[in-house]
């Protein structure tokens, strides 16, 4: 299945990825190849098969009590932040 340049642009928008003009044809080719390859799945007979989302059948996600277990580490965490001020993360203005 071949994807168009427009489809690549739309996927990149959904994924919030900026692509350069040179990258578009590369991903067009690569993704088309991958979709053709995974298209082989179509031939598998999966009528009445329950989709498997987890490798340990029957295992359910545990719940934990809703209790505070972590201290306030915001100063430590914010050392990794590109821009902060007064304990807040700064981003470009969202509302005029």
């Amino acid at each position: 299945m071949a994807l168009t340049r427009e489809q690549i642009a739309s996927i990149a928008t959904l994924a919030r990825l900026d692509l350069t003009a040179d990258e578009v044809p590369l991903y067009q080719e690569g993704l088309s190849r991958i979709l053709e390859f995974v298209g082989a799945l179509e031939r598998a007979d999966t009528a009445d098969v329950t989709p498997m989302a987890h490798p340990l059948p029957g295992l359910t996600q545990r719940l934990r009590p809703d209790e505070v277990t972590e201290g306030d580490g915001h100063e430590r965490y914010q050392q990794n932040a590109p821009r902060t001020a007064a304990g807040l993360y700064l981003v470009p203005k969202v509302i005029e």
């Binding site: 690549i8 996927i11 990149a12 959904l14 994924a15 919030r16 990825l17 900026d18 692509l19 350069t20 990258e23 590369l26 991903y27 690569g30 993704l31 190849r33 991958i34 979709l35 390859f37 995974v38 298209g39 082989a40 799945l41 179509e42 598998a44 999966t46 098969v49 329950t50 989709p51 498997m52 989302a53 987890h54 490798p55 340990l56 059948p57 295992l59 996600q61 545990r62 934990r64 580490g73 430590r76 965490y77 914010q78 050392q79 990794n80 932040a81 590109p82 821009r83 993360y89 981003v91 470009p92 203005k93 969202v94």
Partner: protein, 482 residues
Amino acid sequence: MRTLTQLADGLRRRSFSSVELVGALLARIEKSQPALNAFISVAAAEALEAARAADRTLAAGGGGPLTGVPIAHKDIFCTAGMRTTCGSRMLDNFVSPYDATVVARLKRAGALLLAKTNMDEFAMGSSNENSFYGPVRNPWNPQMVPGGSSGGSAAAVAARLVPGATGTDTGGSIRQPAALCGITGMKPTYGRVSRYGMIAFASSLDQGGTLTASAADAALMLREMAGFDPRDSTSVDAPVPDYVAAIEEPITGLRIGLLAEFFDKGLDAENERCVREALRVLEGLGARVSQVSLPNLPMSVPVYYVVAPAEASSNLARYDGVRFGHRCENPRDLTDMYRRSRGEGFGAEVKRRIMTGTYVLSAGYYDAYYLKAQRVRALINADFVRAFQSVDVLIGPTTPTPAFPIGAKTADPITMYLNDIYTIGANLAGLPAISVPCGFAAGLPVGLQIVGPHFSEARVLAAAHAFQRTTDWHTRVPVGYA
């Protein structure tokens, strides 16, 4: 250079000090780095300080099973106060605020963190050519790839720069590089080792494990790493056996299933020769070999390349340039900041997988790709369940070919993806699997793969250990690194 087990023993008996050991390994690492590029960060000062503390503990008659033993962590594991890059420009300046559970447990057992190993960016790759920090080279031949994504860990252990290293295996990322570098690589059952602090790629497949010289070393390291962790919602609350004791179990009567689908037309003749020879060795030890067929297994690579990118596209949405990671210069607005930060911070393969995942999860395609892949995954899993009703372990090659030249498979994504054709099945079904060296093809190592049912690590390790007690492939060291 001795094995992890021997080094731990030597330190306990005070035949040498941890400071001496760390010093010697730091010198080897520094010398190897221009040729192999196996490491992203080396914690020389911190490791020497920890070694001095370990020596004091040992002198006082204290210490745990790994006290004073230096190890390396794949740079996907968070290490408090130290850079954790995941092989990506996105996290080039990221300093982990906490230790991954795996890191904390090995520290608690006494191990010292010597260095962080190079890897394919976000663990996406089979050749270690996708690292922002440059490719790793195979110590057996520097023109060849070491495999990936745990390529730095595999090369480091193969060149005896560290006695053991951690890795992660989402579709073969421990076993495939272990095979290509001639060492032992163990991927435990999904849920056996905590994923807390292990940077997420595909959450239903990712599993931490070990890269060591031998199965005995893997047993020692895994025993200290494994176990329930309330901080990982898919961690399994089941007791961890003493793998070190369990591997001495003889394999007389072990029922081995020879995986028919693994002896396909893609398998290199020399790899096949080595694997069949290994089977004769195991038969000689009292194992009974029969042929087993898993008819849906050839579908595992297409299933993986829907499921793994889908999970990756969700997991990697967190890299938005807001709280940590790369942020572009002078963003016009929030959307521009997201798009350019991600476009600049991620490498080509990571972007390809994010886009593949985004597409297969998008409206109108979800059923045809994602749900369909999850159904075929169930068929593959059912094949394994059926097979394990008549055999104890499944055996086959780890990879179709030995290590290939750097640059040989970068042009076409599918050619690269097919390197993991024999390893992905165990991830889809969450099974424990090990790769052990079983010979050489044209001077390059070949790996034998042993796969067991859920939580059968002890049996898988025992089979590998029995093989290594009668063969010496795992003791071979590349020229120049003895």
